[in-house]
Symmetry: C2
Subunit: 247 residues, 2 copies
């Protein structure tokens, strides 16, 4: 048996999120089907760095699984991709240590949230960003963004119906990229609570729209109360960009 | 009654082309349904500059229709878009002369064909370009492209099963844009035969791959024989970019 670590990308539009659910098309179910076929097992274990929600995309999700197949490591992406639907691809695969774990070994993650400024929602980007009719004040969003890096209790930025008790997380960096007709929020951290990036994005957008002041951001964090933060931003603008595993 | 000219965009991935066909989801059928609803007519006439094939996209397709509705012209895109699915949008609308005709008044059209060079077909671009594992020789393609501008009988670049008799068309310009990991073919002309852009794209690609020499292009045009040209390039890389109506 050996453990394989693989980096995968998926267009989340056609998936009900990562995790297996009865009668739903999920990323995990599609991976289990492809890998199960290769291994002639109907039940096959595939572990990811974490879940993604329905319609959320991944540019660099990481998974691991164990295999007894003697496929040369360079052939793994081609082998799996030949059994996967076109909206999910294995980008790279490598042999990992026996104790490598896609979720527990992760040292940090980077997410990207994309807004596009456009009067009309383009048919080509409708599933790949959140459209805004008016450009928000990116400088105000940047001023507010300064409150996030560091170790905080992020209860204000966590979906209320979550069983997680410890809501302390460390945000390493939070940048806003002004690309003219697109604005990207790029956030990296030790780990993220359920809906955390989307609630941060929604709150920063309200600040950019002048509904709230940039100074409110620090107060919302300090309040540790979901009701104080902004709306959860829609899923189609969110990308899991990268998972880091230290050295 | 007044005549409305509208510019529309659509993601062709989910459509069986432009023209109405029984039991198929087509762009025209979706437009007829939306405009028919507004006009309380189940049969409504919508005319385009020309058809597009299944999976072919449009950035600037032009349509016309006649209406008795007293909607201010600036409100027309919003009104129609509210009844259209998200993979098609009306970008602009204007009142046109009574004798304006989306097809017969057209003076020229511009198409774009997109190739992407990538070992793995990205889930995000799979429906929006044609993927190539190896970059073709763009300079060879450019040398071959010089044979096309001008007025020629383009029988070699027309699908064999077409009822059109006169296959003389004028190509105004044919450019190849080298964008690093993307190559775009941009062609404008008086009009195009069935599959003409896709057969030109397929032939130029074979030249770029070294399967044929750039000098062959002029000979293929002169032969007036479909069998002499290359394969028809796949539809998902093709975009109807613009329709021109002179001054």
């Amino acid at each position: 048996m050996k453990r394989i670590k693989a980096v995968i990308a998926y267009d989340g539009s056609g998936f009900s999120g990562f995790q297996v659910q009865p009668n739903k098309r999920t990323v995990q179910a599609v991976l289990i089907q492809a890998l199960g076929k290769m291994h002639k097992q109907t039940e096959f274990k595939v572990t990811a760095s974490g879940r993604t929600d329905a319609k959320v995309h991944a540019l660099g999700q990481v998974i691991h699984f164990d295999t007894w197949l003697a496929i040369p490591i360079a052939r793994w992406p081609i082998a799996i991709n030949s059994l996967l639907p076109a909206d999910i691809r294995v980008l790279t695969a490598e042999e990992a240590a026996d104790d490598f774990h896609a979720r527990f070994s992760a040292a940090g993650k980077t997410y990207r949230y994309k807004w596009k400024i456009s009067n009309i929602i383009s048919p080509f980007t409708r599933n790949f960003c959140t459209h805004l009719p008016i450009k928000p004040d990116v400088e105000a969003m940047r001023r507010a963004a300064r409150a996030f890096p560091g170790t905080h209790d992020f209860s204000s930025f966590c979906s209320a119906n979550t069983p997680v008790i410890d809501k302390v997380r460390t945000v390493y960096q939070l940048e806003l990229e002004d690309r003219g007709d697109e604005i990207h929020l790029v956030i990296s951290g030790s780990g993220f609570l359920y809906n955390m990036v989307r609630i941060i994005a929604g709150t920063l957008l309200e600040i950019g729209m002048g509904i709230r002041s940039p100074e409110e951001a620090a107060k919302i964090i300090a309040a540790q109360d979901r009701d104080r933060a902004g709306k959860t931003a829609p899923p189609q603008g969110l990308y899991l960009e990268k998972v880091d595993y230290g050295s």
